[in-house]
Every structure is written in structure tokens, then in C-alpha cells.
């Protein structure tokens, strides 16, 4: 879809970034087409936020470049800033100003003023169901409403591409779905390109394409369904008393690769459900449990990195939140 795109909305061209001796990004390259919703999925500490800060012009990469509608973040950050709307992970609204005042402030920074600005702000607040809260201080809004106000603010200068850093963090499931629906509507109404980072598997599942990033490497990229297909038909997760012993036996029984992840065994195969009774009969005393699942993006991650997503997540509180 994007590899052949002549004029990508975003082209990340071999971005490498180091903090001292630590390499946060290693030669990352990918493209996002206009009108696409693209998710960068990865555990915290994997390099997503570094990449985010580079493509939003807040940080220069150690090497490589990124183009936003043909403008280099390295050489023409100002031109890039005219094209982009950004919602950062941390709140970017001033809590001591009203919702409307925040909108006006942001609009003026983008060269808007007068009635044009006020009307545009009013229209967006109406669209996001915030009209009745426009005179309230931002600090009095719930987390979900603040996020919506952030999105409204970012959209005020009509950006061609919207960057969102962990938009779902701190939102309850209802607000998360609301937010996702807003993005979908935005894309269908204005063809705005959306690039978001996330460590929520479910959020990435709703994107047109996903780039999986781990330890600074882009380990997989493609549409969620296509990525899952690459994993295989179905996934069996087997808990065993002697995993290593069983691993060898299963390997020779099905002549396919059996992975050991965190003490459990994973097998990907076309008709895994049919294998369940065979395994149960062949190794009665050795198997504690067998779970059958369709591959998820988590399986894609495991397939590429050999690690469970949650274990790769360095940020424990966020990992805890993901479990619940």
C-alpha cells in the first residue's frame, strides 16, 4: 500500500538515535500514505517516544531524516510544523485557562485570528461535544474530556497529518472507544493522515497498518490482518511440567518450530485445533493445559522478538494498567 506511494505523508528514512552510548532507534525506515491511520506499536522504552519527538520536530535524530509531505524535519522543521497537529502523551492544555482560551491561544500560534479563529474553535468544540464546557477551566474537565479538547485543539489549524503519542493512556475503556471513533470519523471526513503510538494491542488492531517497534528496531510492518496471517493459522499455548522435554517431542511430532516463551510452549500451525486431542493423548501426564487462539498482534510481537509483549514493557505501572 505504501511502499509504492509516490508522495507519502510521512517517510521515515533510516532514523538512528543515540542517547550517549545507548541506541534508542536503529535505522528505522517506513512510509505512511496520505489518509492512512498508522499505529506504532511497542512496549514502553522501545523507542516509540523518541521517534515521535523526531517526527514532530522536537528533537533532531543522530542520523537519518524524516519527511513530512516532502519537508525534512532536519532541514525544514518550520515547514513541517505547518503541516502537523500534535497531541502529546502529557497534557498540553493549560489547566488555568478555559477550554476556549486554550483553543484561541493555540490558533494564534498558528497564525489564525479574529472571527475566523473563533468560529473554527466553536465549530470544533461543537463537533467534539464540548460547547457547554468551553468556558470552564481545563482543570475541571475529566480525563476523557481533556483528551477530546486536546484533539480539538490539535485539529484547529487543519493539519494534514495528526501525530498522537499514546492517546489512550489514562482513558477508561469507554473514552478510549469514543476517541477512536473520533479518529475514524476524522479520517473519513477530511482524509487526515493519523500516526499514533501505542502500547495497547487493541488500539493498534484498529489501525490500517501497524509498525511494531522493539528495542529501537522496526521488527514488523503491515496491515494487522496480514501480520497475523504471517504468524500462521492458529496458535497453541501449552503449559507443561517439563517444557523443554515436551518441546522436542512436539517438534518431531508435528515437524514444525515450537517456541518456548516464559516457560510455556507456543506452536503455530494451520489446523491447530485438530492437534489438541493428539497432544493430549500422546502426552497425558506431561501437559497441564492447552490453549487455542487465533493469532493476535501480540503473537506477531512474540514471533518477531521471542518475548511476550508485557515482559518487554519496561514501564511497570503501564504494564499493570494493560493487564486490567
Amino acid at each position: 500500500m505504501s511502499a509504492l506511494d509516490q508522495n507519502p505523508a510521512l517517510a521515515v528514512e533510516g532514523v538512528t538515535h543515540r542517547y550517549g552510548s545507548r541506541t534508542a532507534l536503529k535505522d528505522v525506515r517506513f512510509e505512511v500514505s496520505e489518509g492512512e491511520i498508522f499505529a506504532l506499536l511497542g512496549p514502553n522504552g522501545g523507542g516509540k517516544t523518541t521517534l515521535f519527538r523526531i517526527i514532530t520536530t522536537l528533537m533532531r535524530p543522530t542520523s537519518g531524516d524524516a519527511q513530512v509531505f516532502g519537508h525534512s524535519v532536519r532541514d525544514a522543521p518550520h515547514a513541517v510544523r505547518r503541516k502537523i497537529g500534535v497531541v502529546f502523551q502529557q497534557p498540553g492544555l493549560d489547566p488555568k485557562l478555559t477550554v476556549f482560551e486554550n483553543m484561541i491561544h493555540h490558533g494564534r500560534l498558528h497564525g489564525m485570528l479574529g472571527n475566523t479563529l473563533r468560529n473554527a474553535a466553536d465549530a470544533l468544540l461543537a463537533q467534539f461535544g464540548l460547547s457547554d464546557r468551553k468556558k470552564d477551566y481545563v482543570e475541571t474537565l475529566s480525563g476523557g474530556l481533556q483528551r477530546r479538547a486536546e484533539l480539538a485543539k490539535a485539529l484547529l489549524p487543519r493539519p494534514e497529518i495528526l501525530f498522537l503519542d499514546e492517546p489512550s493512556t489514562g482513558l477508561d475503556p469507554g473514552a478510549r472507544i469514543d476517541f477512536r471513533n473520533e479518529l475514524m470519523r476524522l479520517r473519513s471526513e477530511t482524509n487526515t493522515t493519523v500516526v499514533l503510538t501505542t502500547h495497547f494491542i487493541e488500539e493498534a488492531d484498529h489501525a490500517d497498518r501497524v509498525g511494531v517497534i522493539h528495542e529501537g528496531n522496526l521488527v514488523a510492518i503491515g496491515a494487522p490482518d496480514a501480520l497475523k496471517k504471517e504468524v500462521g493459522g492458529e496458535v497453541l499455548t501449552i503449559e507443561a511440567h517439563e517444557p523443554e522435554l515436551l518441546r522436542e517431542k512436539l517438534g518431531s511430532m508435528f515437524s514444525c518450530e515450537v517456541k518456548s516463551v516464559d516457560g510455556s510452549l507456543r506452536v503455530e500451525m494451520r489446523d491447530a485445533h485438530a492437534a489438541i486431542p493428539r497432544i493430549a493423548e500422546a502426552f497425558p501426564g506431561e501437559v497441564r493445559s492447552i490453549t487455542l487462539g487465533k493469532p493476535t498482534l501480540e503473537d506477531v510481537f512474540i514471533n518477531q522478538t521471542g518475548k511476550r509483549f508485557i515482559d518487554a514493557d519496561e514501564d511497570l505501572p503501564a504494564a499493570e494498567a494493560r493487564k486490567s
Binding site: F88, L93, L97, L109, G111, L113
Partner: protein, 259 residues
């Protein structure tokens, strides 16, 4: 309006609005210096005569110094706000907007300077209490000087604030650098009677010239009272130069900052 001025203007306006909405900042920046003036001024007043003075009491001598302190405190509080903005990541959003860094810094500095000036004007009301023979001309000239001092001190504060991650860090800078800058500016005691080393530091301290300019404008109608201070034009030039240098350095710091 050009986008540059629009950006500067909206950042300026936000500084003012935020200040007005935070009552503690008004009290901090205004109440404390007044309290200092009354307590220190009347406490010292009966006990000390300073060398080289024109015969006025300490309350009168200390009065312009307190105006300088109000301006300094307001400037410091404005720069606190920038540290907070960076910490709260509000500034990230500003930095990702298509605006020159200098327009952002100019908005912040003029915001701080305006607040400093307004507070100074409020203090001018106490002039008769201090016994300073203030005329309208002198008052207007003094207000301009306050704005100038406010600009330079806010720019100095910003130059530091754009590098510092925490308000705690800024507190130590304030105690080690900004308060001594004020103490050794002729605001509290004159250069004439000080230890030679201290006197030397005072002579190279740019704020000495700010306070001198303020004394000269306050006593516009009675120049003989401030005859032993640096001249008005020299003082103004030094202060303008100091302001421009601090502002340029603050812009450079902001340009290198990653929000």
C-alpha cells in the same frame, strides 16, 4: 498583525491572565517586598545612618531598592511559570507550532516585564509615605525604567529557566544568583560605604545601574539628592545592553531546547 507579533501577543496575554488568576503569585510578588520595606526600613531607620547619604532616612533610601525588589520578584515568579510550563509539557505544544523561538521568548519576557511594571506602579502610590518628592514627570520616567529593569531581569531569569528542569533547581539559582544581584545593586546599601571588594562587585553588577537609573528618575526634580550615583544615561545604556544580551542568550537557549 504579523504571525510573529500574534504569537508574541498571545504568549504575553497568557502570562498576564495566569498571573491574575493565581492570587498567591500576586501576594508573593507584591506583599513580601512591602513587608520587607516596612519592617527593615523602619527597623534600620532609627539605628543606622549610611555613609554618603543626602540626609534622608533609611525608609526613604530603601524605597527605590524595594521597587527593584518587586520587579525582581515578579520577574522570578514569571520565570518559575516557564519552568512549570516545561515540566507540565505545555511548552511542547508551543514548540511544535510554526513559530520562531524568539517570538516565544519575546512574549514571555514582555509578559514578565509588564507584570513587573504594573507592580512597580502600585508601589509608586506609597511614594509620599517614603518621603520621595515625586512629580508626574518623575513618576512616568520611573515607570519606564521599571519596565526596562523588568525586561532585563525576566530575560536573565528565562535564560536560566529554559535550562533548568525543576523549580527546586531554580530556587537555588534564585538564592545564589538573583537575590545577591539585588543585594549588591545599591538597593539595600550604597556603594560608597561598602567594603572595597564588595564595592567592586557592585560596580560591575548591571543591576546597580538599573537601581541608579530608578533613583535618578524618582528624584528627577531633586537631582542633588542622588548626585553621587552613576549618571542617568550611562545607567540606562548599561541596563539596555544588559537586557539585550540576556534576551539574545535566552533566545539561543530556547532554540537549542527540546521542550
Amino acid at each position: 498583525m504579523t504571525p510573529y507579533l500574534l504569537c508574541t501577543g498571545t504568549i504575553w496575554q497568557r502570562e498576564i491572565v495566569r498571573f491574575v488568576r493565581q492570587r498567591s503569585r500576586i501576594i508573593g510578588a507584591f506583599g513580601q517586598p512591602v513587608l520587607f520595606w516596612l519592617l527593615l526600613g523602619s527597623g534600620f531607620g532609627r539605628n543606622f545612618r549610611y555613609a554618603g547619604g543626602g540626609g534622608e532616612g533609611y525608609l526613604e533610601y530603601f524605597y527605590p531598592g524595594i521597587i527593584a525588589m518587586v520587579v525582581l520578584f515578579t520577574a522570578i515568579f514569571s520565570t518559575f511559570a516557564v519552568v512549570d510550563d516545561r515540566k507540565a509539557r505545555f511548552l511542547q505544544g508551543v514548540l511544535a507550532a510554526p513559530v520562531p523561538r524568539s517570538a516565544i521568548v519575546l512574549g514571555q519576557v514582555t509578559g514578565g516585564a509588564t507584570l513587573a511594571l504594573l507592580q512597580g506602579v502600585l508601589l509608586l502610590i506609597a511614594t509620599p509615605l517614603a518621603g520621595v518628592p515625586l512629580t508626574l514627570e518623575a513618576a512616568l520616567a520611573s515607570v519606564l525604567v521599571m519596565g526596562l529593569i523588568g525586561f532585563a531581569l525576566t530575560a536573565l531569569g528565562l535564560l536560566l529557566a529554559w535550562r533548568i528542569e525543576s523549580t527546586q533547581g531554580f530556587h537555588s539559582i534564585m538564592n545564589l544568583l538573583l537575590i545577591p544581584l539585588w543585594l549588591l545593586s545599591g538597593a539595600v546599601f550604597p556603594v560608597a560605604g561598602a567594603h572595597p571588594l564588595i564595592g567592586l562587585i557592585m560596580q560591575v553588577n548591571p543591576l546597580t545601574y538599573g537601581v541608579a537609573a530608578l533613583r535618578r528618575t524618582l528624584y528627577l526634580s531633586a537631582p542633588e539628592a542622588v548626585a553621587n550615583l552613576p549618571g542617568l544615561w550611562v545607567s540606562l545604556l548599561v541596563m539596555i545592553a544588559f537586557g539585550v544580551v540576556c534576551f539574545s542568550l535566552a533566545v539561543r537557549t530556547a532554540e537549542r531546547s527540546e521542550g
